[in-house]
């Protein structure tokens, strides 16, 4: 396991930003972290990187607690720019060269070009998107083994958002392990093989994106008359949620949708269908119906 977060808890005053969070990410995997604002994504990153001290829990990178040597091969792009206002992109790159033995000058030049950045412009004269781009150039120029990216595509246009995904894909194909957060679910559906959904400081759903899509389904049945009693289904652990309205029964199924569909058929409905869910449906289902009115920021 490249990254292991075990039972992480972090409180700010009486408020728990993260409470009992567990997450494991395999080497070479890209894990996308989804969650409403305030669900604990950034706090988790800060704890993982040692910027803030957790109240409890264990954080391991490559099986070991964070140690200075780990920073040699780790890149972090924070949500808000951590660049010096008065320095140019070229000066930031130079600082990176002096700080990291793994720094790759040719790669840094290539990345500056990919993002069409003027190396001689000072940070304060760059747009928010350009600042993010500089941070990404620095992050990928050291060819890191571990990348932690907090909303790496925010402020970027669709073309550069695609570039960021390609950079992550390229790095993972070369063995890097990546943890990133995003409000853009399609980015997670593309770049990530692993998704973790956070709600109120906990991981509420976690798994391989494709496996979640195989498992999570809606079994929908239409009856000629009112839906009959469905007590058996209501208590089935495979059923996440049951909706009944008039002649329609909808079961949100965690797994085994075919078996649930057969069970529903025994109630002699007029028709039964198994409907696929995309990651957005799964995400909205996992963060709960009462959270649907919350502002989700940039969700498409």
């Amino acid at each position: 396991m490249m990254i292991a977060i075990q039972h992480l808890t972090k409180r700010y005053g009486s408020q728990a930003a993260v409470s009992g969070l567990d997450l494991e990410i395999e080497r070479g995997s890209i894990c996308g972290l989804l969650g409403p604002n305030g669900s604990g994504k950034t706090t988790t990153f800060k704890c993982l990187l040692g910027f803030t001290r957790p109240d409890s829990g264990t954080l391991l990178i490559d099986g070991k607690p964070l140690e200075p040597a780990t920073f040699e091969r780790l890149s972090y792009v924070p949500e808000r720019s951590a660049l010096y206002d008065w320095m140019t992109a070229a000066q930031h790159v130079e600082l990176q060269r002096r700080s990291f033995r793994r720094f790759d000058a040719a790669r840094a030049r290539e990345l500056l070009e990919i993002f069409r950045l003027d190396p001689n412009k000072k940070t304060k004269r760059l747009s928010k998107g350009q600042q993010t781009a500089v941070a990404l150039v620095l992050a990928f120029s050291i060819r890191p083994d571990v990348l932690v990216l907090d909303e790496p595509a925010s402020g970027l246009d669709p073309i550069f958002q695609r570039v960021v995904m390609d950079l992550m894909i390229d790095a993972a194909a070369n063995g890097a392990t990546i943890l990133f957060s995003s409000h853009q679910i399609t980015q997670v559906e593309r770049a990530a093989d692993h998704v973790a959904i956070l709600r109120q400081g906990k991981v509420v759903l976690d798994g391989v994106v494709d496996s979640l899509k195989s498992d999570e389904k809606i079994v929908e049945a239409i009856f000629d008359d009112a839906v009959p009693p469905v007590d058996g289904l209501a208590h089935d652990v495979r059923v996440r949620r049951l909706e009944r309205s008039g002649r329609i029964l909808r079961a949100y199924v965690r797994t085994d949708s075919d078996a649930i569909a057969r069970q529903v058929e025994d109630l002699h409905p007029r028709s039964v269908s198994v409907l696929d869910l995309n990651l957005e449906d799964i995400f909205l289902g996992a963060v709960g119906p009462d959270n649907r009115v919350e502002p989700f920021g940039e969700i498409r």
Binding site: D166, I169, A173, V209, K213, V272, L275
Partner: protein, 136 residues
């Protein structure tokens, strides 16, 4: 030249299933021919902008299904097993479409004899017997 694969990440159908389906289809249609080399995992992942582990899983499953073979250091190739292999792949692709249609018919409440009659009509249209004119 490698055929163009397209995947829809927003779909509820897992990406690896979408891609397996497309490669099998390309083999069944002859767009990919036996012995032809497939792109590397990394190249195809970057081409489609999807996760490399997902592409690796596709190649593993295609190898298990006998559609491709991978030799370490050389790459992945469509298996040169000629007609029978391509036939089986075509069967696979067609079966998935039929399964989808039959499921839909069942969800719509059609009974078995209805479905049989429906398929009979379609067969008459697309596979007319030798002494019949094709119907339109």
């Amino acid at each position: 030249m490698t055929p163009v694969f397209t995947v829809d990440p927003r779909s509820g159908v897992p990406l690896y299933l979408q891609l397996i389906e497309q490669v099998k289809r390309a083999v069944a249609l002859g767009t990919l021919i036996p012995g032809e080399q497939l792109p590397t995992v990394k190249a195809l992942a970057l081409d489609l902008t999807i996760n490399p582990n997902t592409v690796a899983r596709v190649y593993r499953e295609l190898e298990r299904d006998g559609v491709i073979e991978t030799s370490p250091g050389r790459g992945s190739f469509v298996r040169p097993n000629g007609e029978p292999g391509a036939r089986r792949t075509a069967d696979d692709v067609a079966e998935r479409s039929f399964a989808e249609a039959v499921r839909e018919a069942r969800a719509l409440g059609l009974q078995r004899p209805d479905v049989e009659a429906l398929i009979g009509r379609l067969l008459d249209r697309w596979y007319p017997l030798a002494d019949e004119e094709p119907k339109t």
